[in-house]
Symmetry: D2
Subunit: 352 residues, 4 copies
């Protein structure tokens, strides 16, 4: 059961609801999105019915929900959501491109990659400082030093930063640098991490587990929402199948399927799906045409020198084509390619 608060509801309206629910032995989870506050109830539905919550101040509606995910479902929230990341929208009217290097390596590499990202039509910068790697002997990222580089490059280029967090204990620290917290494919069912980012004040990019069903993916988003953070963007990045010709199998159908089930935006990662540079352009086109709300693309100034996933990174000669595809196909899909924020010279730190 879910209580949907009216736009004009006050904090104390919400508190009253929570206390009433707890008073009959239930639990109430308050989720605050940009455009709405929702209270999810867990406990005895009959007891809740007796509370007559619909008549309380600030309550817009009380709904019973039949799907296993509630807060992120379209069942009672049919309008698709817009999530803002450092002022940049991701949602049904835009095509928003996130681009950057798989891993932050140096200030120069990151700054160059950010400029390449702008040239490719991106309005958000991606880059990993904490890298979850299959081998303990592979490059694990720069850690907080990498986050500082990202913040400096944001100041220089104006692009808000999307970066991965892999440990619940790091969430606050990463959130202090980043504009959006990425939960990677291997952590999609790391419930401690989901709950931690659910308590954070920055939006979350939730990658689909490489062998998770769409329903499990939505349930993982529900974990985040249930802790109070409704600013979630879903990212399809390819699933594990028997096929070895590609790194993963891009499940292009997941875009329309997830969009029908959830009001959250859905973007696509064509770089990790195909795992090869020459597949990025066709998969990017397919993603936009399937209705994706955005893309997240690997870019690297010198892929051969990349410490991570160089095979799939786009290079200079690809950027104009990606930007052209983004603009032309967006128009055909009734969307606007999200413009990059202005680079504000005032924000440039002297050190860079």
């Amino acid at each position: 059961m879910v209580v949907i608060m009216a736009p004009e509801a006050t904090e104390s309206d919400v508190e009253v609801i929570v206390e009433m629910v707890q008073g009959v032995g239930g639990k109430a989870f308050v989720s605050r999105g940009v455009s709405r506050t929702i209270v999810g109830l867990v406990g005895d539905v009959e007891e809740f019915g007796a509370l007559n919550l619909r008549s309380r101040p600030g309550v817009l509606d009380v709904v019973r929900i039949s799907v296993p995910y509630k807060l992120i479902s379209r069942e009672h929230h049919s309008a698709r959501s817009v999530i803002e990341v450092g002022g940049v929208p991701i949602g049904p009217d835009h095509l928003t491109v996130i681009a950057g290097p798989c891993a932050v390596e140096t200030p120069e590499q990151t700054l160059t990659a950010a400029r390449m990202a702008r040239a490719a039509g991106a309005s958000l910068l991606r880059g990993g400082a904490f890298k979850p790697r299959t081998s303990p002997y592979a490059y694990q990222g720069l850690g907080e030093a990498g986050l500082k580089i990202l913040a400096d490059v944001r100041a220089e280029t104006g692009l808000p930063v999307v970066t991965e967090v892999i440990d619940p204990a790091h969430v606050d620290m990463v959130a202090s640098y980043a504009d959006m917290l990425q939960v990677g494919t291997r952590n999609m069912q790391n419930f401690a991490l989901l709950q931690a980012v659910g308590a954070a004040t920055k939006p979350v990019l939730l990658k689909r587990g490489m062998s998770s069903t769409i329903q499990e993916w939505l349930m993982a988003a529900e974990y985040i929402a249930q802790r109070g953070n409704l600013d979630i963007v879903l990212c399809e990045r390819g699933i594990r199948t028997f096929e070895t010709a590609t790194r993963n199998t891009l499940d292009i159908s997941a875009v329309p399927v997830a969009q029908r089930l959830s009001h959250l935006p859905v973007i696509v990662d064509p770089s990790h799906s195909g795992g090869r540079r020459e597949l990025v352009l066709p998969l990017t086109r397919a993603a936009i045409a399937a209705g994706a709300d955005g893309l997240i693309i690997d870019i690297h100034p010198e892929p051969k020198m990349a410490l991570c996933d160089g095979d799939q990174a786009l290079v200079d000669s690809d950027l104009a084509e990606i930007a052209r595809i983004g603009a032309e196909l967006s128009a055909l899909m009734g969307r606007v390619l999200t413009p990059a924020p202005d680079a504000s010279p005032a924000r440039v730190p002297s050190a860079l």
Copy 2:
């Protein structure tokens, strides 16, 4: 090793090559496509080298090939092929749409569906008379009576016919009615059937096995080519994965991957991939944007009454949108939506 004959080569030029190869204990497989004749050699490569085949009359080139499929590879035949089906081209400059009912049920249902297919932008008619069904108690198709209906509807509408063959013993009979022979997903490694359609004089639509790798799919095409029939169109129709939200998982990456490895056209079946009507439009857009050379789409006048796969069939209200997508996205991809042949009144049989 493969001998590529020149366009002006004569039959006797080819025979000379075959005899020379057999003379040193090898086997020679002659494949005649619309635009070229190729002789594939199996046996001792050193013996073949000593024959100096390159200097024989009518020989354009002799190549050694390193991939496991030879005749269909782009390694030594980089230009992508155009296959003609009853005069309708499938290849790199066109987007060719095949549409029609999953199963032929009655003359009226088939004729209505064919007219719907034209309205959707199709230039070829699909329809099954022999249906491979998981259950022996499911509808198995009308057999030869269904083929006659298809031939009548072709006469009425001008649309060449694509239909499935499931038994090697039926190939000649089916080929006498059809313009293109379809090999279904469950038969992709039915080697007796592949060899039989390889000996037929009609082009072949080879659906990917639902759990076949791209390499196995190309090897299956090679079986057909090796028997002399190079007029093959590959069809991606979704693979089997752990995901159950869709009937199959459309492997959209297979389109660019197969096109890089083989010169054969690659089309997509968005109906069997998603298995649900509402997914057909987004998957159709994705397929065209990924570079597919065509589509094969289920259409039915009354899906609720369909004897087979009604859930995924498009209906009247979808046709204009499919036609619009086909036209607009084709243009963006530098292709022409293949026009349907004229309906020739002279071909209409009085019986219909």
Copy 3:
């Protein structure tokens, strides 16, 4: 709906039933097993009810069945079946081992392998004369010449022969040499072939499709049964998954699951599952312990020279261990290791 005939029912009793069913527009499929005859009905169940078939001579019972497979289900035939192959039983009281070379290559290789099979505890000889190979350039088998070798080796060693058939048109010919017809994994949904072996008079070994569900496997067996041949043995041989450390993933759970759903015997192929010789022994032990009714194992006198699947073939030094495992684990499972038939000198042809 299924009509189960009494043991004493005559042919004319069966014919009466068939005619009554056809008289109300239904279809009747007569299946004759070693121990029972069953008539499967397809059509209008209410019409059938009005026929009062239960009261006809020779009818033991008439049952309505709720699972999608009827004739092979345990729902109304709870006793597990015993199938006899050239006098050798496969069923719940025995552990029956089939062994031999993947492909018949020469008379000497086949005879040596058959003697190795006996030493390993086998009572049936396997060997392929028609090989379904992924590549058209791989060894395709000796064809009918290979069947003659198998028949000669049977005469020499007394071991009945299990061999694969890949073309419906070959079924009668192969059945004239073989004691059991094998349908391979790639043909599990080759419905024309299933129907052809369903009309044959020899028992059938039905391998599970490498990506078929257990339900699809049982439906394929139903195709065979529906055409009148109930002498079917199911064979689990590994399924296709994301794991590449083994050739296939042996689905050991399929043994108890299929045995609960169907009365047919279930055996295991540890050679194709693991694809590596060192895995054959542990997988053989696991199969017996899981309750398998038998095994089919690759053996080759000189695996390095094998034209097919040499990596997984057992060699001389493995045979005693396999025989020991078969004997000891059978006893623990309450089974008897099926003894090999006597080698009858009288049957030895002079030519060998």
Copy 4:
């Protein structure tokens, strides 16, 4: 490169090695197992070669390793390891059974389940206090209160405790109650958690990720080993495939494959693999016969009332059969069924 210390090596011998490695810009990871200390080196192999480490005091051997996992590989440590859990061995000479409830619910339920575990031949008690659940609305476990129940039941029954940890921040707390830390299937690539249990002083039970390859599983174990904890037991618990007849597909081949690649013990979870009570017995037999070093089995006094996975829990009537299988099949495999430790009345707290 790995430095293997001699049994008599001192702490300062190890420190010398670490400092030498760091002195040339490398990293050294010290792993201390029950029977050996190993120092894994990451950095420039040529620099390390110049250090002539083999001649230093306390060094037994220096080896270069070609597989991607080093510390857990059998390449240079061919003897299979024995891991002790609260004094109970898991290794090549024993069959060790872990049993208990999926989730700790009450003291009574846990104590009853522990007594059932002993009756089933178990020598270790499992039970979850922190439950990773797909849905945020499902039962999440009792947390620390559950750990206290487990500790009380250990005192009462003498069975050491195996329990799951899901948050790196909880590792020390859980380790203060438990004898073995379980890392669940969804956390197999939660690298922050792997590193945390790698720094703990209790042995680790590492479940295979439900869609992880065997190589990825071994790499995850390497993460733990690299942080200094070599007391790791691997657990195969079924993988995700297209088959839906079972909850997961038990990859029985993974037992011999992992045992050949790694010196760590490998056990099997037949309960989560099949997901159904009637499959637990056949899968248990298969696991032992395939060579598993142990089992982990769900048991519940009242499965219908279980808060988690009741469908797969064994009940009273199954216990004697499991114990009999464990004893008889162990003997056949040359193993001893590990006896349960004595229940020490002195350890019973008055509170229970």
